[in-house]
Symmetry: C2
Subunit: 186 residues, 2 copies
Amino acid sequence: MRADAKRNYDRLLAVADEVIAKQGADASLREIARQADVGMGTMHRHFATREALLEALLRSRLAVLTQAAITLAAGDHPGDGLISWFRDGVTFVQSYSGVVDLLADALADPNSALHASCTGLRSAGARLLARAQEVGAVRGDLDGTDLFALMGALGWINDQPSFSPRGDRLTNLIASALGSPATKRS
Amino acid sequence: MRADAKRNYDRLLAVADEVIAKQGADASLREIARQADVGMGTMHRHFATREALLEALLRSRLAVLTQAAITLAAGDHPGDGLISWFRDGVTFVQSYSGVVDLLADALADPNSALHASCTGLRSAGARLLARAQEVGAVRGDLDGTDLFALMGALGWINDQPSFSPRGDRLTNLIASALGSPATKRS
DNA sequence: ACCTGAACACCGTTCAAGT
DNA sequence: ACCTGAACACCGTTCAAGT
């Protein structure tokens, strides 16, 4: 990468982090380019889509969370591990406001720049979940995608100003529902 | 209301229902005006905001759901009533895709055209919840807003193509978690 | 190679002009 | 009273022209 290209790339990323942290994941890309003193074309080549930009912003944090699932799955207490990883996932999904919708879309869309990271995270989570289920710490009628759906749902709650104050309590509610046995009625 | 005004109003509403049913609550208002053969100014006077348009579309269904809560709260089985009302709420929130965000925003914003309907629905739900708690059918550490948050979260899940197939199962999971006692640990 | 910035097709809002 | 449609300030995408 040419030196000026590298410089533009870094500036864009730094400005994007600021703006998106303040305005959410649907912030204006034009505004980011403006603040980075970069033309619209430059913005577009470095980050062809909004997802590509967020992938770059989230990459390292996503990798950490994925690695954590792998480590916990190999550990001695997969039950406790799953619950604490679940909480970390809920926290992660709040990296920027509005990012939870982007991640859910990315899971469904193989062409999304975030798709691979999402499925990778899901597999790691699914393995940890399976271990927790073997130990009998978590109900058996759930899979990795269910886990994602619930983390996303709690992320959505935290994204709503009217609901975010109860985010922690409702996370507890759902986290403990994961552990309870599948009470089938009829 | 003048005859031509009334006609435009009705056309806008009919077209909006079609378009929003197909494209979601964030469909283009311009496109709706276009399909209704109406100028942009006309659109704007009849429905000053997107919320006003959705309020008109949802009004009657919202009233039905609110009335249901009142009826069930006066009934003999508030515990079962709450759970079934909770499910109805999750269904309602899917009236149109994307409407759940609008409703959550409306709860926080007193100026929203949907604000009154939302708070009205919440109060009715809160009364039903209180009755269910008196009977001991539902854990005590929840209020009407928590109920809304959970219904919204499940609506969010149903809005995501990757998650919607598990919407019913996760609704069951959460519905049964409402009934379980508050298991405090430590 | 990489960047710029104007052109394009959209959006929601506003408002002068018409009937 | 009510409607129209152009004007405005935005958006993301594309692309000819520059270095």
